[in-house]
Symmetry: D2
């Protein structure tokens, strides 16, 4: 399968790291460390090969991809030697990046997006294209009556004003262009009845929300540990200090609240109760892409004896996210090929805020993912 | 079932906390927090009721149980109000504690031990008795040819000299008295061919080794997390600062080495490779029973980007161990009742160094345990 | 000198711990650990003896002092054996605690407060009395024109409405009753021109603000370390999780902001610049009096190389504050005796937000304190 | 003053970082962050200018300096852009690096070393040269009778066998060549009566031992904090994980013990008692030059209430050491110029194991340093 990945936010850190990584894999300059679909238990011949992936995307930013890659190298996110070695390949991808369209109506904007997608598919003779949203987190979108059904939505988009938040407009355009859609952010994306209707109608799969890269990943194994040991978690408080582009966005209280809520959900779901405490997100420019999260968990053991666990996670967000972006794209492309439509609930392993009524414990999510990939066939 | 629990090291911190807790449960003064067998998914009517447990034991120490309980209350291990409320019950148990026998030959010592066990069973009209070793960790025992078979062993025990380490002599005595045996320590216990032969011959179950209460518990969920995410763990270094009785014992380099090895095994088994780094155990008297463990994990993500996780676990060892002692006793008693014999490999969930070729990831161990308890029947 | 300490918030955790401690010192049941004035380099015969301190106070709460002490013992703040041994002495102090007066005008309330102070002084034939505010933190008080001068203030207090926040009204009453005043909280206290005028007029000393018990204490030695090494601190972010009475108060955003600002001041003052990052305070009931603070400091070394320091402070706030309350009371009483009036700037060692244009580095504050005590004479 | 710095271990990480940094300062490509002598309160015209420093040195390794610098850039120790910009300058320094001499007797070796030093001085027309030992830590040296006096030493060096450890032989050679000497390592260096005699005879200054770059730096401000607050430190345990060249050396138990002892000394000296606990050093190759130290301090407050502080220091050892190497060289050169001879006790600020009976609290050491530099005159 010749497969295309169209990135919303294509000149951002996550997107650029994903592209550098995929090009490095294709050139044999790197190993797929951090790629879940490269795990021996998960690999499947139904997935498009890392070497058959083509990249394009939209962005409002105009920084050349190679320049952005150099900045990431200087910050320690990707190795400088790779960026140097992949100059020509990065320039090729850069030629496939388009400015984010903006037209008089949202309908016209969506058409322009879809046109870009279809040209990309034609130009590279791609069998399938998946759209992956790795743009900055949006503030929570206000509800709109036209979200309830496809006909109302189509009509409303032709009027003036903002009916859909950007992430959802891209999902709409992706579906109209016959592409699957993955939302790696906590934004609204495809989570609207009208868009579900459109995906069903067009027979397309989609996945989300909010890639699970750090603190929530830890919660998804530690909270089940406390539950299995029948220990009573009294409080779970966390602070996330981060300085990259996403950090700056999250200073906006609306976006911050959306993200924090998605981060505490795993506790309630795996413990069966909500312990005291909050998760805070603070923007500290100097920290850059190397997010530092600190969590304090207080819990009671036998006879009420108080104890505590604390952890500090110092992870490079883009380097954690990028291989998952490749994983999600590969799987959604294969799901599309297999004719699966609607929300891909078996991909909860990847998300802080997964779709469907699914288990939030990581091992159970792993089993669901393994089963799904096995079902896609072609065990390698 | 009227069930007896005979504790080796009966006046130690873990044993005393177990007894205080069981008496508090019986009196309705506490909830079974930290008892895995009280988890709604695991509870089984085949298990003896918490209220039907009787306690006895051996110890070389002579401190009265109530006095030891007061010391634990002063140290914050158990609530002072429980110790005050349970004075009469603690005195009753104290009457069933015996000095550790020591005779001219190990055979005679084993006979004296077995005699104590049988008298305990008779005095309380118990259906089953299980022996649980919660004494201090022994230094690794030297090999002896008589360990290879039961006949050789029986003969050798009648001679002078030390054939079996204490933990194994207690297992021998337990089996001859018709009791199951659980080793909560890293000592040799029942792990000798001659003792396996004896247990098989007498139709008795046994379990071990080394209760998984803190740092290794965390490793058993965190290491699989790194594996599932296909991240490359470069180093995993840990230090354990502890000050209780076990800490003092572990200053002995032999005992320390035994414990440290058992602590790194989980990494090799769940990651599939052994990262750099060691686990150290240091005795710091002032820290008392509230062990503090710090671990640093360095790992590489996509394209080799280096990241790290560190955690600090501040747990009360006795309060973490005691409910597991009750769990293990209940399950081994039920296994005995059900006619199961030999090593109980389904109990790996509880141990740092489990018996058999078992999975070291906690969620898999939980499933094995759940399946085993379901098989015992009597779902509550 | 027979000396009296009148506590505002006398039934709170800090006050109760201070009283239990002073009674224990008098009874020879404890050592003055944590009392700075007991340091061999600081002790001075000019200070009233620990054994000559008498306690009284106001509170809106009515819980008996002995009951409050028992609660603190259960929470591990003070040893249960002391509370048991000091029952009679605690009851005696309880007899000197009065409900917080509340009259038709603030002038009348101040009179009632002053009357309580004078009766306390007479009853125990005290040479000097100092009023110490250990009540909960107030929200920042709105400005009022009458704060500017004593005459305007006296007039305004006779009218209806709230002219002074409670902490300042107590300072006003203390001064009118001829007592020194210490504010251990970040509240306004004596920091108003009108009150400075009154203290000067009556020849009385006062001190404040906001006892330096934990995170800020660390900042006051760590920030100078970075400065002395000429390292560039890029960011300093902190989170304080606390659950006692003060924690609940600080959920109020006004009080929280007052406290957070006072916490970052030391960085700006000792580094000479304000690094990025904030200090947050979160209320987590389960954590109780054992506050947990985590700070992350990122800094650049030679050639800009990025590094970091993080620390976790787990301290019992009341146990850290109580000895300082005794220190401050002893010193202010001695200052009063020595005829010193106005703000005691040499006591910056004790405060997050000290009075005057003083050095914020702890060692310099120590030297200032040592010099001041030496000047009081009577080196022991 | 045209000043020379001769580095023992000149191709190691610390030396290379020092050279890269000094060249970058000279070229105006970097700021002297981390250089204590660049602090506005300390700068003095008596110090040789950063731009007037010339470098040479000995090493057993043969890796080109530029290559070593590239390795450090890849590891994030120095910026790659500096290494690229300073290629020519690094090559020039490389021309002044000599293989470590080794002759038939230690006397002949010392002569060869001294000859290299004198040639370096002549070649660059230097006014003064200082020798700085930044080689790997030696195992503790066995005592030898000839250490007691200069005559005996001179005689013994002419015989076969090892009389002096390498660090001391270099000090001997430095003194005979008329150079000051700084030992940045815990090795023996100039700390022998015979060498003190030689330095006095030749009128030369020297300084040491063991640069205070990380964990001990923190101890030197935190331990005084506990002392000033009259809090009782119960235990202070630490672990250092490091992976650079020094780490590998410290796997040798002798070197490790030397370093650990030097690390705990500050506690005994500033607290007045030795708390329980040890400092461990573990080699973990993957950690590289970014040392991670974790310390746990348990302490008792008022009425014995137990509390704790823990910190994690993640610092780049070479980047922390290099500016101090420049500082020490500048000051020792100025001391030489000023005619000061013998151990420079005012430089305790820089060392874990300083010379003389000096204060171990950092602020007092800072004052001593400031006074010394002011005495050198020429306040800038």
């Amino acid at each position: 399968m010749r497969a295309g990945i169209w990135l919303i936010g294509a000149r951002g850190s996550v997107a650029t790291t994903s592209v550098v990584g995929a090009l490095a894999l294709r050139a044999g300059l790197a190993e797929p460390v951090g790629c879940v679909t490269a795990h021996p238990d998960l690999d499947s011949a139904a997935l498009p090969d890392f070497c058959d992936l083509y990249f394009g995307g939209h962005d409002v930013a105009t920084v050349p991809l190679a320049k952005k890659a150099e900045q990431l190298a200087a910050a320690g996110v990707v190795p400088a030697r790779l960026v140097q070695a992949l100059g020509a390949e990065l320039a090729e991808v850069d030629a496939d990046l388009r400015p984010a369209p903006e037209a008089a109506t949202q309908a016209a904007t969506a058409e322009a997006i879809a046109r870009d997608l279809m040209r990309f598919r034609t130009r590279h003779r791609l069998d399938r294209v998946v759209v992956v949203n790795v743009a900055s987190t949006e503030a929570a979108a206000p509800p709109h009556p036209a979200h309830a059904g496809l006909d109302a939505l189509s009509a409303a988009l032709n009027g003036p004003g903002t009916v859909l938040p950007a992430s959802s407009l891209y999902a709409y355009a992706a579906f109209t262009a016959g592409c699957g859609y993955v939302d790696f952010t906590p934004s609204t994306g495809a989570r609207l009845p009208a868009l579900a209707e459109l995906a069903a109608h067009r027979g397309l799969p989609y996945a989300g929300h909010d890639g699970k890269t750090g603190e929530t990943l830890l919660k998804s194994v530690l909270a089940p540990m406390f539950a299995m040991r029948n220990l009573a978690v009294r409080s779970w408080s966390g602070v996330n200090l981060l300085g990259g582009g996403d950090g700056a966005t999250l200073v906006d209280p609306g976006a911050n609240a959306a993200k924090s809520a998605s981060k505490q959900r795993v506790l309630r779901e795996t413990l069966g109760y909500a312990p005291a405490g909050d998760t805070r997100i603070d923007y500290v420019a100097d920290i850059g892409d190397f997010k530092t999260a600190w969590d304090l968990v207080t819990f009671a053991g036998f006879l009420g004896t108080g104890m505590c666990l604390q952890f500090t996670w110092q992870g490079c967000d883009s380097a954690l996210a990028a291989p998952l972006v490749l994983d999600l794209a590969r799987i959604t492309l294969a799901a599309h090929e297999a004719g699966h439509t609607g929300p891909l609930e078996s991909l909860a392993f990847f998300f802080k805020d997964p779709m469907g009524d699914v288990d939030h414990a990581l091992p159970a999510q792993w089993e669901a993912l393994r089963g799904y990939l096995a079902g896609l066939g072609g065990g390698r």
